[in-house]
Structure formats: C-alpha cells, structure tokens
Amino acid sequence: MEDLLAARLQMAVSLGFHIIFACIGIAMPFLMAIAEYRWIKTGQQVYQDLAKAWSKGVAIFFATGAVSGTVLSFELGMLWPTFMEHAGPIFGMPFSWEGTAFFVEAIALGLFLYGWDKLRPWVHWWTGIVVGVSGVASGIFVVAANAWMNSPAGFDWVNGQAINIDPVAAMFNDAWFSQALHMTLAAFVATGFAVAGLHALLLLKNRKNLFHRKALKIALVVGGLAAILQPISGDYAAKGVAERQPAKLAAMEALFETSQPASLTIGGIPDVENREVDYDIEIPYLLSFLAHGDFNAKVTGLDQIPRKDWPPVLITHIAFQIMVGAGLLMMGVGGLYFYFLWRKKETIRKRWFLWLVGACMPLGFIAVEAGWTVTEVGRQPWIIYGIMKTKDALSPMPGLQYSFYMITGLYLLLSAIVVWLMYRQIITLSGRYASANTTED
C-alpha cells in the first residue's frame, strides 16, 4: 500500500472512530441531565434509574473517546509532521482551549460517575451539566481547528513559510461557526436517534415498559428537535462552502460544468472520465438557490478547477447524498413525533412507530460519518486548502501501512467489545433496576 493512502486511511479510521465517541460525549450528558432533573423534581425512581443506566454506557464510551482522542493528538504529527510544524503555531489556539475544556470534562465526569452517593442531588446534577457544556466546547474548538484547514486565515504564506501569524484570526476563520454549529447539532441528532432507536426496539418486546418509554421520549425530543434544526445549519454551511471552496461544492453536487442556472443533482453515480452523472434526478434552478440564495445564480463547476486539484468526486458526492438523505429521514420522523404529540396522540404506543424509530437507530451516525467524509475528502488534494497539499505534509517514514493496520485492528476490536458491553448492559437492566420491570398503561 502506498504510504499516502495508508496515512489518509489511518486518519480516516481514527477520526471516524473517535467522532462516534465524541458525539456521545457531547450529547449524552444532556439526556442524563434531563432524566436526573425529572428525578429530583418528581421523585420518580424511574428517572434516576434511567440516568444511572445511561451513565454506565457513557462511562464506557467516554473512556474510549478519551484515549482515541489522545491518539489523534499524536497521530497528527506522526503522519503529517510537515503540516503540524507549520500549522501548529497558527491553528494551535483552539486546541489549547480544548485542553482546558477536556480537562474540565474529565474532572466533572469523575464527579458525576462516582459521585451519586457523595454529592448532594443538585450538586451532582450540575456536574453532569458541566460535563455536557465542556463536551460541547471541546467539540467546537476541535471543529474550529478543522475549519481552519478548510478556510485558512491568520497568516501570510511566503516562500513556503507562514509569517505574520495571528492565532485569533486563525481560530475565528470564516468556516468555524457554520462547521461548529452543524457538527454540534449533528452530535445531538445522532446520539438522540441512536438512543431513541435502541429503546424503541426494546419497547417492541413490551410496549408498556415504563423505563424504556421514558427513555424513548427524552431521546426523541432531543434528537427530533436537533434533526429539525439541522437543515437550517446545513444550508448555511453549504452556502459558505460554495463561496470559499467551490471545488468541494462542485464535488458534493457532482457539477462538472459551470452552470447558470444550476440544477440540483439528487443521487446518481458520477462518471468522472466522461464528466457526467448517471441515474440521477435533476431539479432545475435548485442548486443555484441552495448555493447562492438566487434561482439564477452561477454555480462554479469542476471545469473551472485544474484537474489535478479536483477532490475525489465519486466519494464526495455519494457521501453527501447519504448525509442529506439520512438527515431528511430523521427530520421527517422527528416532525412526525412532534405532530402527533401536538395532536395529543401517543405515537410511542404504536408498533409501526417503534419500528420506524428503531430503523433510524444507525442513521444519525451514518450521517455523521458521511458528513465528515464530505468535509475531509472534499478538501483533497489539500491539507490546508489552497496552501499545502496533503502529499507534501506526509511523514517520510516508510511502511506507514503497518501503523494503519495496527490502529485499524485495534479500533475494530474495541468497537466489537463496546457493542458487546452494551449488549451485556441491556440484558441485565431488569436485574439491576426495578423500574425496568415496571409497566404502565
């Protein structure tokens, strides 16, 4: 295997693995906080049981995320030393704040997980909130650093060296807000639907189970709300990409020819050789509107980009379709739930609805992985957009594929163990919590 490919795959595996745990670390504390809040307010034991049961899962996910995040902080240098040598002083600032946020998160998590009997209820509840808030902050800082790679700012690039470095301008680059907003919402969508889906499937066995009903409601409210808001942030993010990274947008849309007005391509398989898309559906004018807010706007196609600077079109386009499709499905399910809630109909008692939510269980994380693929693959061949090519940042060490095999094997193993541990958590629920055996009408 070529070293460049091995390094990129190792990065993809490491980020793709870590992002799941990071999302759960961001969103779960809030689900637990809602449950614990209800417990303190109403005194119903089911809510404390729920918060405790969830916290066991969170502990497993958080530990895995903490170590995989640490691995990433080293991997950036181990695989891309040239990139880090130049970029470190420029985009290091969000990481320096992320250090504090991660620290606070780890301390608060220790208090939350081990403090059920040592802290007063409200103090304990607050430690959970601190875990969540610092988790969100960590995510925002890391995404701000990634946004800088898409939208470099805060330096002048002269003869292959960065001068006039301004770390504040680098951190608050043009893409940071839209990317951070989109990613944070995505964490809530993905986690909310994964949790809701899990409890929906468990409810199918016994639709009157009190524990799973409460769990489903909390998770679906959070995930559904985020899913309904997400398209707004997505539209905002896409308009930014259209402006700053026309090559990425053209790859996302598989737009080979610059068009005015431009049609939106839905689905299809891009044929890069012949510069056309097969089996797609085209909606006239829509891409112009989505990209620039004007039905007659010109949208830059790949023909305006030198061939050697094209991102991989097939992967970027398909990943984008998957993300949007999964996102719209979840938005629909979320909308359905709120509609029935408003009409005072108990959808969560219906078998078909539980199946529907259960089917959505993996969708959020599929969308997260696909969206991350869009932003990372869509930036290629650049590691710093327009400044440094990925191949020029690569470590000169031969045999990088062995690092890749090792990390991939390790993460596959860990994924399997985490799934197995979750299974063991679930099958023992009714033995550990009385409310998991309680039914309500």
């Binding site: 995040g69 640490t70 691995v71 240098g77 040598e85 470190g88 290091g92 250090g99 690092s403």
Partner: protein
C-alpha cells in the same frame, strides 16, 4: 518572557502527569507485586481520577505542537514507533480498566481485562521513558541513510531502555506509596509499605544503571550533572530524603509518605529538566540541538498560549482540588 512562562507550564504539566497519571499506571504494575487480591482497592483508588490525570499528557502535547512545533514534529517523525507503542498502551490501559469496572456481568472476562490492564500499564511508562531517553541521547539524525538508523536506533538502545525502566519503577514506587492511604486493612497496608520499600530500592539501583548505560552509549551524563550544581544538588537532596521516607513508611504516615515520595520524584524531574535546559532534543551528527528557544513559536502564538494556559489553570486547578477532595479527603485524615 512569554516562552519562559510556557516552559514553566510545560514542566508543570510533565510533573503533574508523572505524579498523578504516572501513579495510575504504576498501580497497574503494582498488581504484579502485591497480587490479585488487592485489585479492588487499586481500582477504587484510580477509578474517579484517572481520566482527569490523563489529560496532563494531552496538555503536554498541545503545548508542544502549538508552542514548539519543530520539537513536536521531530519527535513524532523520528520516534513514531515508540510513540505508537506508547499509545497502544494508553488505549488498552484506559479501556481495559473502564471495561472491567463497567461490565454488567462479572465472569471470566474480568480476567482478560485485568491481564490487559496490567500489561498495558507496563508498556506505556516503559516507552514514555524510552522516548525521553531518545530525546536526551542525541541519535536522532535527519541525515540518516537507513530505516533503522533513522527510526529505530535513536530509541532502541541501552540508555533509552534504562530510562524506560527507571520510569516504570518510579511510577510503580509512587503508586505503592500512594496506595498506603487507600486501604483500611492493616495487612493490605503492610503489603503496600513493603512494596514501596522494595520499589524505592529498585529505583536507586535502576537510577544508577541509567548513568552506567549513558556512559556505555557515549552520553557523559555524570559529567553533565557534575557541571550543573543545581541538578546535582537535587539528586543529593533526593538521596538524603530516602531515610526520612523509610521512617515515614515504617510508621504508616500516609500524608508524609505521599509528600516525600512525590518530592523525591519532583526533584528527579527537576534535576533532569535542569541538566537538559534549554535543550529538548539532542540531535545526532552535525545538527544543532532543538532547544525551547530555537523551536519557540512566534510571540503572537506564545501570547495566546500563555493566556489559554493561565485561564485554563485558574479553572482547572480549583476544580481538580474539588475532585481530589471529594474522593481522596477521607484518606488524608489517617495520616
């Protein structure tokens, strides 16, 4: 000035990582010495705190790549292999420990977690020490012609191995002394005291071995210490503290023993910092060493780093104190 503040925080982060996270790794190694029956007390001691302790390492990395980018990239390029192995240890230790605690069903699997936890508790300190040794020894060579000369021999040598071993013994020694205060059972406490004394002796022996290995590999470590009165003084004070620590251990004075053991380790780290300063990586052949000054990022970056570190410390330290007070306060009283 800005650079010196950053250096201070870098040193502080390393010291805290060794004092706290080092002891967490040591606790895993300690199980080999005191046996399986003490596993629960070890697990209870590190459970609430290990993740917070681990973050000091992340801080070290962030300070390096933001503040001293050429040091970070040189280390991660030439020491790729030991770093990867250290990371494998970090991954397995953290996950095995957490999985052991949070597996809803206690069966044979706990033996597997325990075995992985113990082995990975050895791997990480060993390779961490080897990385430190490699940075000191000066065999990192950008002009290297072969794979082994560039990526193996800088860290796979007697000196780096001896530093790795010293690191391992030191972490385990810290763990043994800290553990004395974590148990109410007298026989258990006795077992930790015995282990603490044995590891203390082992640290002296292996520490001496580091000097011999240095000479063997052509690093005049003795002479370097001879030229640095501060470093030499630190080592002398550490040695003078030995009998005091033994008396304290003999009487099971928890707080005093912890402070003395911590002080010894801090003095050793201080001696190392001082003898190295300002060099971080000695380069082989004709290349100049990478120093904290030659590698320092531009002032605008250092300023932001200093702000983040000071504000961060103001948030983290009180919160960390609260964590320790919540979970460790009961034990301090016994001292």
């Amino acid at each position: 000035m800005l650079t010196n503040i950053v250096i201070f925080f870098l040193a502080l982060s390393i010291v805290f990582y060794v004092l706290f996270a080092g002891a967490d790794f040591g606790a895993g190694v300690l199980e080999y010495i005191t046996g399986r029956r003490h596993r629960q007390v070890v697990a209870d001691a590190i459970g609430p705190v290990w993740e917070a302790n681990h973050v000091w390492l992340v801080l070290v990395v962030v300070i390096l790549f933001m503040g001293f980018p050429s040091i970070y990239s040189a280390m991660s390029l030439y020491l790729h292999i030991p770093l990867l192995l250290m990371l494998v240890g970090i991954i397995f230790r953290g996950t095995a420990f957490t999985f052991m605690h949070y597996d809803a069903i206690k069966d044979q699997s706990s033996r597997v977690y325990d075995a992985v936890f113990k082995i990975s508790s050895i791997i990480t300190p060993l390779f961490l020490g080897m990385i430190v040794g490699a940075a000191m020894l000066g065999r990192i060579n950008p002009e290297a012609e072969s794979f082994s000369e560039a990526f193996i021999s800088p860290w796979l040598n007697l000196f780096s191995l001896s530093v790795g071993l010293f690191c391992l013994v030191l972490f385990t020694f810290l763990a043994a002394v800290y553990m004395i205060g974590e148990t109410d059972e007298e026989p258990e406490r006795k077992a930790f005291i015995r282990a603490g004394k044995q590891l203390n002796m082992a640290a002296v022996v292996v520490g001496g071995g580091v000097f011999i290995a240095a000479e063997w590999n052509g690093l005049p470590l003795l002479a370097l210490f001879g030229e640095s009165p501060v470093s030499l003084g630190s080592l002398v004070v550490t040695t003078l503290l030995l009998p005091v620590l033994w008396i304290s251990l003999q009487h099971s004075w928890v707080l005093w023993s912890r402070l003395l053991a911590g002080a010894q380790v801090v003095l050793i780290l201080f001696a190392w910092f001082w003898v190295q300063h300002p060099v971080v990586i000695n380069m082989g052949a004709s290349d100049p060493p990478l120093t904290v000054y030659s590698a320092a990022a531009p002032p605008a970056t250092m300023l932001q780093l200093v702000i983040a570190l000071i504000v961060g410390a103001a948030i983290i330290l009180p919160f960390l104190y609260y964590l320790m007070k919540t979970f460790k306060a009961g034990q301090f009283k016994q001292g």
